[in-house]
């Protein structure tokens, strides 16, 4: 009887150990998945930098009526903004709904510009570009990056770097 009881206790102990090891293994797996995601996900700042360069080129292409190039840049911007939703955010934006911001931006800002490019209409392009720039700047403000301003006039450098738009105007 005593031998059976000892066996039972041993079996219970082994069971507890197995569960504990299973939990530790799951934790390790979760941590690995998270770090793998962080390694493979684009970094938010780098993705924004690429989008900024493309936005500048989009404006310059529109000014010289290079519509095909402009359409290409817009498509790349769309992909870049969509990637932002899954990007690794900087620490201060860890709680922000970046996916929602990106999704809203793509749905709101891009279609008007796409149709202006399709119609090869310079005036419509300028208007749509201005609207998109305003959406960009509103998002920058929303995430505490109001100091990164994009120009509303196509063809200008991105971001605006002239002293008049800096915080120190002395």
């Amino acid at each position: 009887m005593r031998a059976i009881s000892r066996c039972g206790r041993l079996a219970a102990l082994l069971g507890v150990l197995a569960i504990a090891m299973g939990c530790a293994s799951a934790d390790r797996k979760r941590a690995t998945n998270r770090s793998e995601h962080e390694a493979s996900a684009p970094h938010f700042g780098e993705e924004m930098e690429r989008i900024g360069r493309r936005f500048e080129r989009l404006g310059r292409a529109g000014v010289v009526r290079r519509w095909e190039l402009a359409r290409y840049e817009l498509h790349e911007i769309e992909e870049g903004v969509e990637a932002l939703g899954g990007a690794t955010p900087p620490e201060d934006l860890a709680g922000a709904d970046l996916h929602g911001l990106a999704e809203g931006f793509v749905a709101r800002a891009l279609p008007t510009l796409a149709s202006a490019l399709a119609s090869r209409d310079t005036a419509a392009f300028s208007t749509a570009f201005r609207e998109m720039a305003r959406e960009c700047n509103a998002c920058h403000q929303a995430i505490g990056r109001a100091f990164i301003q994009v120009p509303e006039v196509p063809g200008a450098e991105v971001p605006i770097l002239t002293p008049a738009h800096g915080e120190d105007r002395r």
């Binding site: 709904d97 999704e103 809203g104 709101r108 959406e135 700047n137 929303a142």
Partner: protein
């Protein structure tokens, strides 16, 4: 960028809309942008998302990972949000009565008085 009218008044309208829809079921940002657009409010995502974040910080909404679209968040009304919505409904009804119904009636009476005088 929010205009003075937006800052002073309309942000409260938008929040009431958000609570109203969140009370019916979980909502997400893009849907809210379209819904508010249907009511004539063309909000930028840069305006809506900070507003949702403030409502979440103030305990009126709770954000969760939405099913279906990876990375999307859905916003759920909290008990505190439901309480605020109930109060808002009463205040909106009272405000509507005074600012719209009574004002319309006063204008009608004034027109009648002018015609008869």
């Amino acid at each position: 960028m929010p205009q003075p009218l937006d800052r002073e008044f309309l942000t409260a309208f938008w929040k009431a809309h958000v609570l109203h829809h969140a009370a019916a079921g979980p909502v997400y940002g893009l849907w809210l942008l379209e819904e508010l657009g249907r009511h004539g409010y063309r909000l930028s995502p840069g305006t809506l998302y900070p507003l949702l974040a403030r409502m979440e910080r103030n305990g009126l909404l709770r954000a969760k990972a939405a099913a279906g679209v990876k990375g999307r968040r859905s916003y759920h009304i909290t008990p505190a949000g439901s309480g605020v919505l109930a109060t808002l409904r009463e205040r909106i009804a009272e405000l509507h009565h005074e600012v719209v119904t009574e004002a319309k009636e006063a204008r009608r009476s004034s027109r009648r008085a002018r015609r008869s005088g």
